[in-house]
Symmetry: C2
Subunit: 166 residues, 2 copies
Amino acid sequence: MDAGIRERLDTFIQKKGLRQTAQRDEIVDIIFSSDEHFTPDELFDRLRASRSKSSRATVYRTLALLVEADLIHEIELGDGQTTYDPNFLDHPNHNHLVCVDCGKVVEFEDNHLDLLNDCVTRRLGYRAVRQSLRIEATCERLRNDGNCPDLIQARIKGKRLPNLKK
Amino acid sequence: MDAGIRERLDTFIQKKGLRQTAQRDEIVDIIFSSDEHFTPDELFDRLRASRSKSSRATVYRTLALLVEADLIHEIELGDGQTTYDPNFLDHPNHNHLVCVDCGKVVEFEDNHLDLLNDCVTRRLGYRAVRQSLRIEATCERLRNDGNCPDLIQARIKGKRLPNLKK
DNA sequence: GTTATTGCAAATGATTTGCACAAGG
DNA sequence: CCTTGTGCAAATCATTTGCAATAAC
């Protein structure tokens, strides 16, 4: 985990007159021990799996806090629940491609894209604050080879596939 | 309302062995009598305001049907509920800019953007099925003039402003 | 000590669903 | 008729919240 994260959080907490707690520390530890997206529920499970016993309510409250501190972002993957993305610190302008075959989420960046978005926005008389591009796509490998390693992995892991609403 | 809509729906309904009902007709009429986005609840209210008395359950079921028939799209505007967009028939590739000041939603299209998205997607080994770009932006007019007609309108109409979660 | 934080359980809000009845083809 | 569609009310699911107990600072 990037050392700067703890620091940013501490600064934010101090500025707001809030308090450092064991629960918040544990939650931040778990979140940034990986670069995976997660739902509140998945995070809650990960916490139980380790020694932490924060309640669901605390998980939700802490997530709101981390969003406000800009340490994580909410993203919409198209299923019913909010997904959180811890990778915006390292890649502030990344976008998401969701494979409709297996649900795999690919993060990508493109400067041309950012530039073009900004042009379009200005032309409309606005100034962009944030953008989120989600591309739903099919896997070429699956089309060509009739199979795709990610699909197999997804089935094994029992991942929630897109557009299936659980 | 575009005459083609009814036709498309009829074709879809026939192909699926479903039935034409008064409720479905009324719902489609109301939706396509305007190009405005709507939530299920707003649609329900519009229906009550006219002579139709479809139940909420029927509204939800019909919306799912219309999405499946590709007559409307679900879009995410950042508040807690699903918003539906009836304008994809006329503008299949349009995107949304949401003003963070007043909540106004501007639809726009850009061929360069579509082309670039497609390039990026192919480079990643996928084929795009659909994309949704949402840009959150501030109004230049508000910044420069200290005011913006849309903001005033939004306040009068009591629109749900973005990120306020109701 | 004072004030923020937590956990619990109850509340909320959007959406879905089971079922008996109504209605399309 | 036979099957799909509807309305109702209850169920579900994610998320939020009131409150009393707990823990920062």
